[in-house]
């Protein structure tokens, strides 16, 4: 018996002893694809050169299925060491107790005080305990891409209010030539875009007022009606089913002159049309004249509790969010760098969309109205439950106010549950 114990102890100590070979950690890119994978591969090469004792195994996961992949990995105990995450499903991962908080590591590491406070805040908001479960790397903002060449041809200036936009959209619509002024995202992912349009227009400064959702504010409903009025008059009929891919294809293919999306489509848009034919503008204001912005989900890196090499994992996260890597990455994808040391970089001056977005975010008059992406039900409410209802509004089968009332009721109940659990 004793011999067996000794043998067991030997085996155990052999396991825990540091081996001579490099430590391997797995990294899941939450938006893998031809656009981003090469950027990460370059960064990983740099990291491995600087840290020969750590090897990174890169796994690119398509963004459309990443949440499911994480769920499966958590359920099966096969999570990566480091994963790219956005705040839109961060709460979901925190709810399953899968992530390690980053607060202590940040306070005692090189990134202390280097990250944009606004982005840190959006990450913290997603956790019921207010801890930081992901290190923000990249900010995003909703914008409207427009065909500056067509605007010029038709002598239209950049619209700053929603009514100007609607007028321009009507002017640029020529169905016989297969040209439309605007495109509505009516299919998958529609609700987030609609809400950011609505709050930009209404000037309502809080998503919740006294625990009740302000989504059904009459001014928000007014905007939804105005969008629905554009459907088929200044947009393709197919827009009711429009998802991201179809919408971008319409814009880059030249069918539509304006498209509401965010900085995330920069690479696609620029590659297809080039800076000489495309401009970017903030979402138009409404009659209040206030600049209210629903911030887009923040992208960042999380370390999973299930990983065995957490020190190495954190080292990699710190490397990815360092000024050099963070600047390189955001320059390539055209988004807002979280590391404040990057902000003076030359490329930001040359990228009109990022510069414009930074200008809006840094303007003291801008009010941020964060959507409750931290609610565990948020995705099921805004996708499964509400996307079909928005299609009804577009098709004229449901009044805008009733649609927003139903959405607001669900968001209010979910928020109350959340408050109780805090």
């Amino acid at each position: 018996m004793r011999r067996l114990l000794v043998a067991l102890a030997l085996v155990l100590s052999a396991c825990s002893a540091t081996s001579d070979g490099p430590t391997t950690i797995t990294f899941w890119d939450n938006n893998g694809g031809p656009g981003r994978t090469p950027i990460y591969q370059e960064l990983i090469k740099r990291f491995e050169a600087a840290n020969p004792d750590i090897k990174i195994e890169y796994v690119g996961v398509p963004s459309s299925s990443v949440q499911q992949k994480y769920d499966t990995a958590i359920a099966g105990g096969s999570t990566p060491d480091v994963g790219g995450v956005t705040t839109s499903y961060l709460a979901h991962l925190v709810g399953q107790d899968a992530l390690e908080p980053a607060d202590d590591r940040l306070d005692n590491g090189p990134l202390k005080g280097k990250l944009l406070p606004g982005l840190l805040e959006t990450v913290r908001q997603t956790a019921p305990d207010g801890k930081l479960y992901a290190v923000p790397a990249s900010g995003n903002m909703d914008i409207i891409w427009y065909r500056s060449d067509r605007f010029e041809e038709n002598k239209i200036s950049e619209p700053s209010t929603w009514d100007d936009l609607a007028k321009a959209a009507a002017q640029l619509t020529k169905p016989a030539e297969n040209q439309y002024g605007f495109t509505i995202r009516g299919g998958a992912g529609s609700i987030f875009q609609l809400l950011s349009e609505a709050y930009s227009y209404s000037g309502v400064e809080k998503f919740y007022d006294g625990g009740r959702s302000t989504v059904n504010d009459p001014r928000n409903a007014e905007l939804v009606r105005k969008v629905a009025e554009l459907y088929k008059k200044a947009t393709p009929e197919a827009d009711v089913n429009n998802n991201y891919t179809q919408m971008v294809a319409q814009f880059t293919g030249g069918t539509v002159a304006m498209m509401h999306h965010n900085l995330g489509s920069t690479a696609d848009v620029m590659k297809a049309l080039g800076p000489e034919r495309v401009g970017a503008m903030p979402l138009p204001k409404g009659p209040s004249g206030k600049r209210t912005v629903v911030p887009n989900p923040t992208d960042g890196f999380a370390v999973f509790k299930g990983g065995k090499n957490r020190d190495a994992a954190w080292k990699f996260v710190e490397f990815l969010t360092s000024a050099e890597s963070n600047g390189y990455w955001n320059e390539k994808v055209g988004q807002i760098p979280a590391n404040t040391d990057v902000r003076g970089a030359e490329w930001i001056q040359k990228n009109p969309a990022v510069k414009m977005a930074l200008g809006v975010l840094e303007d003291p008059a801008t009010v941020l109205v964060p959507a409750p992406v931290y609610l565990p039900e948020y995705s099921s409410i805004t996708k499964t439950d509400t996307e079909p209802l928005y299609q009804k509004v577009l098709l004229g089968q449901m009044p805008a106010q009733q649609f927003l009332d139903e959405l607001a009721a669900k968001l209010t109940t979910a928020q109350q549950d959340w408050e109780k659990r805090k």
Partner: protein, 291 residues
């Protein structure tokens, strides 16, 4: 003599084991989940809740009834049209004519195409700026930019046509195989008795095809009821839930919203309905009781 008592059991044991693993266990686990609140995103709420999911489904969820009605409409229209068109095709390629082999191969080819690929083809055909309807609009038929999948009035026929394209060959194959087993002397005898083409069809062909028709409609009805791939990829159940079948609704609840409890309850409802109709259908058509 002892071997006699256990040998039969040993021989059927693998079958029983496989059935237990692949049939009994999954059904039982879905049954168990249907009695629970089970949402991946809110694990703290998971609990046994008895029949609450079913109460919510039957009394508070208009989309359940809507999707069920749509499923019924979908199955009846699809299977009915596929049977008729499949029979017509089978009769045509059963005749002797020049190029019959090529015609048969062409008739059956859509069946070899997967659902998602079928969608891919038809999405291109329906594309409002490059597809068939854009071409028609250029010739002055219809409006430019017509989106048949975006218009609630046309989305159902457009989806039906897509599935017909793939489903008709299934009936054609099965019925043709059965047509070829009908002895020719029956037709000759009927012709001698003065039966015309229609009479021969009704009195010889149809009775002979009865089993094949029953079997294929039953199979097809179950498959069409459970059809997710084609509708999901073609319309996603939209616009505005117009083409949401019950299984599609299950997929949305369970897979997209992670609500496995309620999704399981919906699945049990579908299971019960299919079971009931399968038994009823087999009874009514007295399948297998022919002497």
């Amino acid at each position: 003599m002892r071997t006699r008592t256990w040998a039969p059991y040993a021989l059927i044991a693998p079958t029983l084991l496989l059935m237990a693993v692949f049939l009994v266990y999954p059904i039982a686990s879905v049954g168990w989940f249907s009695l629970r609140q089970h949402t991946v995103t809110q694990p703290w709420k998971n609990a046994f809740i008895g029949l609450e999911n079913f109460r919510r489904m039957l009394f508070e969820d208009p989309l359940f009834w809507q999707s069920l009605m749509f499923s019924a409409k979908w199955v009846v229209v699809e299977v009915g049209l596929q049977l008729v068109l499949g029979l017509v095709l089978a009769l045509i390629v059963n005749e002797t004519f020049i190029g019959r082999a090529v015609a048969r191969a062409l008739v059956f080819s859509p069946w070899a195409v997967s659902g998602v690929l079928t969608t891919g083809i038809w999405i291109l055909l329906y594309n409002p700026s490059t597809g068939v309807f854009q071409q028609l609009a250029q010739w002055g038929i219809g409006d430019p930019g017509t989106s048949v999948l975006g218009d609630p009035a046309t989305v159902f026929p457009a989806t039906v046509v897509t599935e017909l394209w793939r489903g008709v060959p299934f009936f054609a194959i099965l019925l043709l195989a059965d047509l070829q087993t009908i002895p020719n002397d029956l037709y000759e005898a009927a012709a001698v008795d003065g039966a015309g083409r229609w009479r021969r069809f009704v009195s010889v062909t149809l009775p002979h095809l009865r089993d094949a028709i029953v079997l294929s409609t039953l199979l097809r009805a179950v498959w069409e009821f459970n059809n997710v791939d084609l509708i999901y990829t073609l319309t996603g159940g939209g616009p505005a839930n117009q083409t949401t079948t019950l299984p599609l609704y299950v997929a949305r609840k369970a897979v997209d919203s992670h609500d496995f409890g309620y999704g399981s309850a919906l699945t049990m409802a579908g299971f019960a309905i299919l079971l009931f109709f399968s038994v009823l259908y087999l009874r009514l058509s007295k399948f297998g009781s022919r002497a």
